[in-house]
Symmetry: C2
């Protein structure tokens, strides 16, 4: 395998990762045709993380919230997309090591994001379901649906209730949205699909280590989201730190013990830094320390942005929140700074503009914190939907997502309840490898 | 695991398989509430086979052409759905063996359909991609897309052209539709996604053992589909029987040798009969011989219908064609005959009403044979779309499919080009099994 990237006289910008930050940077910087852009990702699509929970809850298809990278850059001849794994960087040789071989750069941008953090608890890592990729969200969907099928065929109440019950760990937006949607499915959908099952035994627990839900949001939003969830029957436990899961019982440091076969882990992330960097630049949470130009300390041509980077700026002394907005703003700013430097101008320090944050709890219920206005309820829910719809890449994805939402709203139904067997697909994929070996 | 099906005073009809035949039967027969219906399938959804090729070619999502069985029967309290594997039938004990245990019946209906037939050629079975389930169609999609990614990174023209080229075996509707869509993707989509690749090396071959394509259709339709495909650049080889595929070259009995890494097998099916039946009732192609009431010869309460059954009737001496129409008509007729027998009336022999057949070749091009009218071209294409749209289960599925079709038509694009890694999903599924063992 060879990277096969053509040599030109233009400077080459290698971007690792096509998440919110990497994609925003690539779209912006590629506008200038005297730059060659190489965009590397392990997937051939961009994933819209804020809606993973709807994929997990059978409300949306993965394709509605994922967008093929090649389509984004169809008309851009100066962009070269390579779907491969990156193993490390060699700053001395100005190159990165990939499964396709070595790729050299003039500028390198590390936008590798973050992944699930189990804080070293192997027992949980082995058994919990994470929610950091669209594949994991699909796996959670399959799991929940399969459990209800299995619940029909067990011979004890304990087994049945264990299969049906879910413990969600992490009171951030993902945990809140997931447990809210589960509660709605329990109220409106599942009893119709499974009239043979008794749903009083299905428990939905939401556990949070700190004292409140949605810790990054306002007090009002935090309190309101708790009230909404409790009205929907979600059992909320704050100040509970999960320390064990044997497949049957979830246990916490504080002594709680909850019966559930299903543990969804949305409790923490750690950054994905690259091998080959000076270890001194990797700080808390695995994040790479960058200056106000997103430059990695001690390197001239290496940059990092988004979840994997941490920049001390204004009130964000310990780095910006690991969300889409800072990543996208940094991506755009970095593109323009690269242009400025190429043109002999001075780069402009990055300043984060906090546009606010929001979370949805269920039908007609959301919480929104804007810089100068906080509101909750139906109008917040409409706002949440509008903002997320407009953020999805691709007009068709927006149309399909809107139809799915309107449909679910009217019918109280989410109809994507197929258990597509990944093993069957993987077995056929194995055939491919057999071919590849032969070739 | 227990089947947990409640005992009632009503007669129990056990239906194995929720394809076109089994589903039509279950929907009809369940209308009578003094019957208990047990519907068994290995998947929790019904699959609309005629559009698998569009899933494979990234035009539709699996969920648009699959429908959750529990949703179909949500309001039916007398229907019990069990997602499990059936291993065989014990006619003496009036029961079937499943992974959930033994399930007894008063009437048994075998609607297990057919699967891919490799005619004993292990080398081909190991390497070819079949097209008989929606999972297989998705696997083909992943394969084709991944191959184009790989083609960017090889160092010889031969490797690149092998990765890009496809041999489709079988000149029936699936083979014709698949090679036509591939040719369209080559013309309109792939060169835009992969401007770095030279598409003159991408060859699409369609191989058929008999002398003509669409053998079950009229001479006009057969000739026209050949003309259409050739205009689109598909290389058609008739009277070629594939006998080998080493992963690099496809070879035929007649001495042809074609370079391609991808072999799609749409060349034959074999019925899926059940273990435990008298071997004398299993005839050509594995089909189960039934009388004109779909009763399996020699059994009072065992029936078979659709692809797995063969009934000698009128001009259909060797059984009806293995298509959706005969299966659905038999399902409806059998439901009514069971009712008649329950009411002490005489059953009515089945008569197949041939409604015609059709196939689409590409944009604006299809062939339609109705009993008294044959036509081809744009109007045939509209007819094909209308008939297939109306046959899809579920209003929402119809709406989403229509949007996808209109969108593709206007934009010359099929945008579902995500390579979702089935192994990632399967690995998380393995976590589930670990849990199950613990439980």
């Amino acid at each position: 395998m060879l990277p096969n990237i053509p040599d030109t006289n233009y400077k080459r910008v290698v971007i690792i990762g096509a998440g919110f930050g990497g994609l925003a940077l690539a779209r912006e910087i590629a506008k200038r045709e005297d730059l060659q852009v190489v965009l590397i990702d392990r997937n051939n699509y961009h994933q819209f993380q804020p809606l993973f929970y709807q994929v997990a809850m059978a409300g949306l298809e993965p394709s509605s919230i994922s967008f093929p990278l090649r389509k984004v850059f169809q008309s851009k001849k100066n962009v070269h997309i390579r779907i491969t794994e990156v193993h490390g960087v060699n700053p001395d040789r100005k190159s990165v090591d990939t499964d396709l071989g070595e790729i050299t750069y003039d500028y390198l941008v590390i936008a590798t994001g973050a992944s699930t953090n189990y804080f070293g608890m192997k027992e949980i890592e082995e058994r919990a379901i994470p929610m950091k990729t669209v594949s994991e969200a699909l796996a959670l969907r399959n799991r929940i649906l399969q459990n209800f099928e299995d619940a029909l065929s067990v011979d004890s109440d304990d087994q049945r209730e264990g299969l049906m019950s879910v413990v969600v760990v992490g009171g951030g937006p993902t945990g809140v949205e997931l447990s809210g949607t589960l509660a709605e499915m329990r109220a409106f959908i599942l009893p119709k699909d499974y009239p043979e099952l008794d749903f009083t035994g299905m428990q939905i627990h939401l556990l949070e280590g700190s004292g409140k839900l949605l810790g990054a949001m306002s007090e009002e939003s935090s309190a309101k989201s708790k009230k909404y969830l409790e009205e929907m029957g979600v059992i909320i436990h704050t100040e509970q730190v999960v320390t064990g899961f044997d497949g049957k019982y979830v246990s916490t440091k504080q002594g709680l013990r909850l019966r559930a076969d299903n543990l969804v882990w949305a409790a923490g992330i750690k950054a994905n830094p690259l091998n080959g960097l000076n270890p001194d630049v990797i700080v808390r949470g695995g994040r790479i320390k960058v200056d106000q130009y997103n430059r990695v300390q001690g390197y001239d041509n290496v940059f990092a942005l988004g979840d994997v980077a941490t920049m001390s700026e204004g009130k964000w002394e310990n780095g910006h929140p690991q969300l889409a907005q800072p990543a996208m703003q940094q991506g755009k700013a970095l593109a323009r700074n690269v242009w400025r430097v190429m043109d002999g101008k001075k780069a402009i320090p990055f300043v984060y503009k906090d546009l606010g944050s929001m979370a949805t709890v269920g039908r007609n219920r959301a919480v929104v914190d804007l810089p100068f206005w906080k509101f909750q309820g139906f109008f917040a829910w409409l706002t949440w939907m509008f903002v997320h719809l407009m953020s999805i890449v691709g007009v068709k994805n927006r149309v399909l997502t809107l139809i799915n939402w309107v449909w679910s709203y009217i019918t109280y139904d989410q109809s994507l309840r197929l258990i597509l067997k990944p093993k069957t697909i993987a077995q056929i994929a194995d055939k491919e490898e057999k071919n590849t070996e032969v070739v």
